[in-house]
Every structure is written in C-alpha cells, then in structure tokens.
C-alpha cells in the first residue's frame, strides 16, 4: 500500500508515522524548507520560539496526542504542568489588575461567584455530566444559569487561550466535550524540546520505517482516476499512490482537485466548505531574567483588555531559553473584525502586559500574529467537517479536521486516530 501525505505539519507527520509503522510505503511532500508547520521551534536570539503553538499539549502526557505518539512508536517525554492558575483583581468591585491582584487555582473559580451562584455551579457540575446542554453558544448558556459577569469573563479567557475564540462563538456541546476530556485525560503538559521534540520523534519513526520526507516540494495537484485518489503532482512531477492524505484543511485540499469536485453531487460539500472559519490570534514572546508566571502551567488572565493567558515554558524545559533566562508567551484572541487592526490589537496586548507584570523586567522578543491562511486554527473548534472527502482514498487531517472536543493538537490527534481507524481498520 502506498500513501502520499501532503504537508509535514503535525497532522501529516502523525499520519505518516502511524502508517509507515503499519507497513505502508509513505512519502511526505512539504512546501517549506522545514517540517512541522505551525508546530515546530523557531530559533530566535537563542530562544526556542515556535512557528505557532505555545509548546503546550492541552492534555499533556495523558492525552490523545501522547497516546498516538506512543502507538506510532515516537519517543517524547512530556512534562505534566504543575497547575493552572487564574489572575484575579484584589478588589471585586474594581475588576482592574492595576489595582492589585492575586492568583487562584483553576478549580477555585467558583469562589468569585455569589453564594447562590456557587451552589448553582456545584449542582451543574454534577447534573451536566448526565444531561449535557446543547443547541446554544457557551455564553448564551452561562447567561441562562448565573447572573454575575464573572463566569463569562472566565469562559472568554479559557476559550481565548485554548481555542482562540470567544465564548459566544463556541457551541456549548463542544465545551462540555472538552470538560469531559479534561476529566478523562488530565491537564496540560510540555514536551521536552518543545514542539520540535515531537516533530523530530515522528520523523525518526517515518525514516526508520523506510518512509520519505521531501521538503521544498509543493504539491500543485491531487490526481483523481476512476473517481479515486491516485497520487499527486509536485514540482511538475507525477507521483502515484493508493491513498492521499492532505494536511492542508478541506478548503485548500479541494482547490488541489477542483476538477474532480466540480460535479453537481459535490455542490453540497463545496458549499459547506465556505462556512468554515479559521480563528485568529497574537502571540507575544517575552524574555525575562526572573520568572513572570512561576509555574509550568497556564496563567489565565480574564480581566485584561486582550491577553487571555500566559505560559512560561522554561519552567518545564529550561533548554528552551539561554541559561538563566525565561521564555514566557502570551496569547490573545483576535476577533474577525479586528484582523485588519492588528496594530491596535498589539498595542492593547502590550498595555495588558504592563498591568499583569508590574515592576518586572522583561524584553519583548517577537510579536507573532496568525490569521486567514496561516491561522491559530483552520476550523474554529466545534465546526470541523470530519476527515473524509467526497473522493474515495482522499482524507484530510490536521486542525481543519479535528476530532470532537479535541483542543488544538489533541483535536488534530483525535482526527488522525479516526482516519487511521478508517484506513487500517
């Protein structure tokens, strides 16, 4: 069985590693000179910044990605984060970090609610595990349950950090699936060596099993013969295969085989693709001599203008920065209407940092923004259209085809695992 994978992002390499281990002859074509897509390290002034991700796995060593890595034989050590904290203003009436703040642990979030709402939450935590709410957005659902604005703020900062969305964009079903996964798989973790630690381990598996990875090789067409995927054209050369797996998301994949999809029967699929929205975000990378967060988990920041959360990856792997330095990364959600105002969005993010880290010395290393064709997430969570396409033998993996309830790379892993099941049985 010969399989061609288009794109050497995390989704593509996971698929290639798993299939090569199962005996497929695998070839990966990557357009860029480097592999890993939005999940690898960028060396910048001696710091291991990243091409996308915050070097963080939403469910750490117990999650779907860790499981798939193990299944594929990729050896990576994933360090479980010690905790997740929330920075809250000292004065409840004055929700402003400039007036002072304290950090509480994630599970203490109900402590900011009124007594009545706290009881309600305690009840909901139990009852919703059996009867899941559905059919509305997370924000709309919260508003039907509790009065104060705290829970919406908290939800926005969590959704902003984890999904680069606001709570009024996330279907409540998706969040309950995520909560269930938090019970099931546990909290965040950081791979040793950062994102690239995982990419290197996957490549080693592929090469060990005789697979090939070509960089600097763009695929310009997916070949379809007798209604089935039959290979690709890359740099004017034809490469035949029994299966084709695309790591580019459904829309970009469809563009590579537009003739084959032109028939009336595919009109519904193409129409659906138009509804998929990527999510946008900004990452501000900081260098500091002293810790700014102080632990290896996420610090959620609900009362800022823009910053949703911060992590300090050197707490888990000091080698991600030069000796004695810390690498701290801050994420902010960007609303679709603000993608054209990135400059003022960045200004607000930087102003937030002054209030979040008063009196601390840090240097802004690099400000990175992501949207449209190089987004935080190709399909906003809860809107992924699955891994199959109308063309037999052509599958889509990656963050445009995540599994349900899978945050970011965990969703990528769930989608790849589902695809492997279809292919390998």
């Amino acid at each position: 069985m010969k399989t061609i994978v288009i794109g050497a992002g995390l989704g593509g390499l996971l698929s290639a590693a798993r299939l090569s281990k199962a005996g497929h002859e695998v070839e990966v074509f990557e357009r860029l000179p480097i592999t890993g897509g939005r999940f690898t390290n960028l060396n910048y002034k001696g710091f291991q910044l990243s091409s996308g991700a915050f070097h963080m796995l939403p469910h750490g060593p117990g999650g779907p990605l860790a499981r798939l890595l193990e299944e594929a034989g990729a050896e990576v050590r994933i360090v479980r984060s010690e905790q997740t904290t929330i920075r809250v203003p000292l004065k409840q009436g004055k929700p402003d970090y400039a007036e002072g703040f304290k950090d509480i642990s994630f599970i203490e979030f109900p402590s900011l609610l009124s007594h009545k709402d706290r009881l309600k939450i305690a009840f909901l935590i139990v009852s919703t595990r059996k009867n899941r709410p559905s059919g509305v957005t997370l924000e709309a659902w919260i508003k039907t349950q509790v009065k104060g604005e705290w829970l919406v703020k908290f939800a926005d900062s969590f959704c902003g950090w984890a999904l680069s969305l606001k709570s009024n964009e996330v279907p409540v079903e998706e969040i309950f699936e995520i909560i269930e996964n938090m019970y099931r798989f546990g909290g965040t973790g950081i791979p040793e060596g950062g994102c690239k630690g995982i990419i290197d381990a996957l490549e080693a598996v592929i090469l060990e099993n005789g697979g090939k990875i070509y960089t600097g090789q763009e695929v310009s067409k997916i070949l379809v013969e007798k209604g089935k995927a039959a290979g690709v054209i890359s740099e004017s050369k034809k490469h035949e295969a029994d299966l084709v797996i695309s790591n580019l998301g459904h829309a970009a994949t469809a563009l590579l085989c537009s003739e084959a999809l032109s028939g009336e029967v595919n009109a519904g699929y193409l129409k659906m693709l138009e509804t998929i929205q990527p999510s946008a975000g900004i990452k501000i990378c900081l260098a500091a001599d002293e810790p700014l967060v102080g632990h290896s988990g996420v610090l959620l920041t609900p009362y800022t203008r823009r910053i949703n959360g911060v992590n300090e990856v050197t707490q888990a792997d000091p080698n991600l920065a030069p000796p004695g330095k810390h690498l701290t990364m801050c994420h902010q959600y960007v609303a679709p209407e603000n993608v054209k105002n990135l400059d003022s969005e960045i200004d607000m993010g930087l102003a937030d940092l002054k209030e979040l880290f008063p009196g601390k010395k840090y240097e802004v290393l690099l400000i990175q923004s992501y949207h449209d064709s190089w987004p935080v997430n190709r399909a906003a969570s809860g809107t992924d259209p699955g891994n199959e396409t109308p063309i037999p033998g052509l599958y889509v993996v990656g963050d445009g085809a995540k599994g349900k309830g899978g945050i970011e790379v965990e969703g990528v892993a769930l989608g790849v695992a589902a695809t492997m099941k279809k292919i390998l049985g």
């Binding site: 860029l32 000179p33 480097i34 897509g37 960028l42 060396n43 910048y44 910044l49 091409s51 996308g52 600097g216 990135l342 400059d343 969005e345 960045i346 690099l366 400000i367 990175q368 923004s369 992501y370 949207h371 449209d372 064709s373 190089w374």
Partner: protein
C-alpha cells in the same frame, strides 16, 4: 525585500534572516540591514516575500 499583502505577521522569516533585518508587528518589514540575499523567501508559509527584481 518586498513583502506583499499575503503577510500575516507570523515572524517565521525573522527567525531565518541571519542579518536580523526583519521587524514584525502585525506584518513583516525589512530594515536597512537587509542585504537582499533572498534567504528568507522560501520560509514564508504564505508566499508573502517576493523575489527582488
């Protein structure tokens, strides 16, 4: 170095420029330190850096 409207501001090019000649803030901009070597071009994920004429 000409950077077109495809640029999303991801900063990938900046990490591969050996001259430290790229500033990024919402989008990339080449500074006077740029020697037009073209090294950064293939690293852009959205083909925003154009080959100098």
């Amino acid at each position: 170095m000409k950077i077109n409207d495809n640029c999303v501001g991801c900063g990938q090019c900046a990490s591969f420029c050996k001259k430290g000649a790229i500033e990024v803030r919402g989008r990339a901009r080449a500074t006077d330190a740029c020697v037009e070597c073209g090294m950064c071009i293939p690293y852009c994920p959205v083909k925003a850096i154009e080959v100098p004429a």
